[in-house]
């Protein structure tokens, strides 16, 4: 097990991380806008939550969003939570989702992780996508 300052990877994950962008093939992921915002939290008891919002204006004309407004509000958004487990050998963290706002979006997500200084890079396995996070401190 790789340890930095005596910490396991799981211990290093614990806390909250600010979203600083995501890339596909090294280029900014389309549809996220200039300044997407987000947070991912790993707590000490095995629970996690993640939210990412593209940089866009979401509006609502009436009291409640219409179907089209709801669809626009969900476009490109990540919002889920649940438990997580870490495989330190494989360098993966699995998000066991209990709730996700995206319709039809269920089940576990496996992410390769890498720590670079104060940053955390999460990579969906089998893709060229990288999601970048910076420790909140």
């Amino acid at each position: 097990m790789d340890r930095v300052n005596g910490q396991s990877d799981k211990q290093r994950l614990i806390g909250s991380w600010r979203h600083i962008g995501s890339t596909v093939d090294g280029k900014p992921r389309p549809g996220q806008g200039a300044n997407p915002k987000g947070i991912i939290i790993y707590d000490a008891h095995g629970y996690m939550a993640c939210q990412v919002a593209p940089d866009r204006e979401v509006t609502r004309a009436g009291d409640k969003p219409t179907g089209d407004e709801a669809k626009a509000a969900l476009d490109g958004v990540v919002a889920y939570f649940g438990k997580y487990s870490v495989d330190e050998k494989a360098h993966t963290v699995t998000h066991h989702r209990q709730g996700s706002v995206q319709p039809g979006d269920k089940g576990d997500l496996v992410r390769g992780y890498e720590f670079v200084g104060d940053r955390l890079i999460l990579r969906p396995l089998g893709t060229t996508t990288e999601v970048l996070w910076e420790r909140i401190k």
């Binding site: 939290i41 008891h45 629970y47 979401v58 709801a70 509000a73 706002v101 319709p103 909140i136």
Partner: protein
């Protein structure tokens, strides 16, 4: 120091599991088994999500407006920073982003600790949202 004697800012820290919401002494209908998580971090950061117990279906590769409407309805998801006013017994959520369209700004909540539970109440409302400490 016992937990009860700690400042509220200290007791709020960590993750909380959603228990339920009551309004006018009845249950707010989010389905049989709604789930949610609330987090207060040590650096002033917070996030919350509550997912009503409904099936969020998508028949095709892309959601339809109807499917989006159902998925979004009553789903709470926002994050930002928070401040605690111990004198007034309130925590304010300064939202940086909110999933629900057309809603932003600060939310003020009166807080009350009851054992392992945290009850949050919007001012001038009979609503109370109950959370249980994850441990």
């Amino acid at each position: 120091m016992t937990e009860a004697s700690q400042p509220a800012a200290q007791r709020l820290l960590g993750a909380w599991r959603y228990v339920g919401t009551r309004i006018h002494s009845g249950n707010w209908d989010r389905g049989t088994n709604p789930k949610g998580m609330l987090y207060y971090g040590p650096h002033g950061e917070m996030a919350v999500q509550i997912a009503p117990d409904v099936e969020r279906k998508r028949a095709g590769a892309v959601m339809t407006p109807e499917e989006a409407f159902v998925a979004l309805k009553d789903y709470i998801a926002y994050f930002g920073t928070y401040t605690v006013d111990e004198q007034a017994g309130i925590v304010t959520h300064h939202r940086h982003d909110n999933l629900q369209p057309g809603e932003g700004g600060d939310l003020i909540r009166r807080y009350e600790f009851a054992g392992d539970r945290l009850v949050l109440r919007p001012p001038n409302s009979t609503m109370e949202v109950t959370w249980e400490r994850i441990k």
